[in-house]
Symmetry: C2
Subunit: 244 residues, 2 copies
């Protein structure tokens, strides 16, 4: 008899994460605009590691202790007291190579800490920037998977669901999917895949509007591009490092 | 200057309802399979009123007091101690005309009580059975709207989202929609509208499977048919009655 396939679920919001069993499960943290895109980019460009922290004060304190780059946002803007923000363009190779990024964001880093507290076996971060490597990792592990959308202050958003849908679309044949949210995600992705940016614009996506209002069209376009920073951020001992 | 249009939001799960301001708002309770389909059908077939209660014990007690029909389900089956279930076919005119239905269900009646506690101005129930009359009511009120999906034990489901999407599709030009969940709902509905039953089947929808397992294909087909019980259940003084 064939081995039963592992399960795949999608959690649309941190406020729904408690509905899923995280034991013996790989959790993919998804915060497309922009935390998990920025994390992949910083590591791809040579950052030694990214340390996700859940408050601005911890970020400042730890940054001093280890001489790291303090970075993060609240409400889409650089948080007061931090030197850098949450844009992937702030972390080119010439700047970030060999350095440690200490990062705090409104949604993504918070969800990562929730997954940790709830006992996830492995935590990785996903974004369109590293879609391929995330899918390959999930296929190779052959373990249960939760795709965890960071959302916006617990409200479900389009872009994280689109990425979850892209993953479902790529790996569904190897998993048992009894999860309406995963089906919804894949349907959305199939509607959007030809032009992700155009879809966000057409659907008047709320965080698209927020970032466009800050003049960040370039960030949005980058974060919706596939595989431009194809490394796998893997959480280990309090840090995100590239998984080998 | 034109009057600003009222807002429309969709809450995908009872666990997300607290994110929305319910003051001065019409809340549509959506539990397509099967509570809100059954409520519309029972009223359409002449029930005096439907009294939604949140526990089986309250249902039994109240049923005795007022000589009402005690009905409801837990986990998709008739709840122990109750005489009738949550199928619209249990409430034809010859049976329900002039009677009071006391109903408790896993998700729908629970969400209704949450909306009440959180101060919704008006509460109505929606399902494909009464799509038109729900849309016409929302258009006539010109007030803020929350489409509240009952989901399944807080997990987002396809069928409630499909109905929310049908409403968004019908009335969106009269509302200001800055809500990704509403956009996701409409996209899903547009993918499914030609064959709602076929879509549920193709997507392996979890409650579709659960009810098919109980031999309830007929119920599912009925609940996905548009306007076959086109009355508006309106909550007033503890009861759902037909809104005139």
């Amino acid at each position: 008899m064939a081995e039963p396939r592992p399960s795949l679920y999608t959690s649309l919001s941190p406020a729904l994460l408690h509905l899923y069993d995280l034991n013996n499960t790989v959790v993919v943290i998804i915060d497309v605009l922009r935390a998990t895109s920025t994390i992949a980019t910083a590591l791809y460009n040579g950052a030694k590691c990214v340390i996700p922290v859940d408050s601005v004060s911890k970020c400042i304190e730890l940054g001093k202790q280890i001489d790291g780059i303090t970075a993060g946002e609240r409400d889409g803007k650089i948080a007061e007291g931090l030197k850098y923000g949450n844009s992937p363009f702030e972390y080119p190779k010439e700047f970030i190579n060999g350095k440690t990024l200490v990062l705090t964001t409104t949604n993504g880093t918070r969800l990562l800490h929730m997954a940790l507290e709830r006992g996830a076996s492995q935590i990785v971060t996903g974004s369109f920037c590293n879609l391929n490597v995330v899918c390959n990792y999930l296929l190779s592990k052959n373990k249960n998977v939760i795709l965890g959308c960071a959302a916006w202050k617990d409200k479900v958003n389009i872009e994280d669901l689109l990425f979850a849908g892209a993953v479902v679309h790529a790996i569904k044949n190897n998993f048992s999917i009894n999860c309406d949210s995963s089906q919804i995600a894949e349907t959305l992705f199939n509607n959007a895949r030809k032009d992700l940016f155009g879809f966000m614009q057409e659907k008047n996506a709320s965080h698209y509007n927020r970032l466009m209002g800050f003049g960040l069209e370039k960030d949005i376009r980058y974060c919706l591009t596939i595989n431009n920073a194809d490394v796998l951020p893997f959480y280990e001992d309090g840090k995100l490092i590239i998984h080998k």
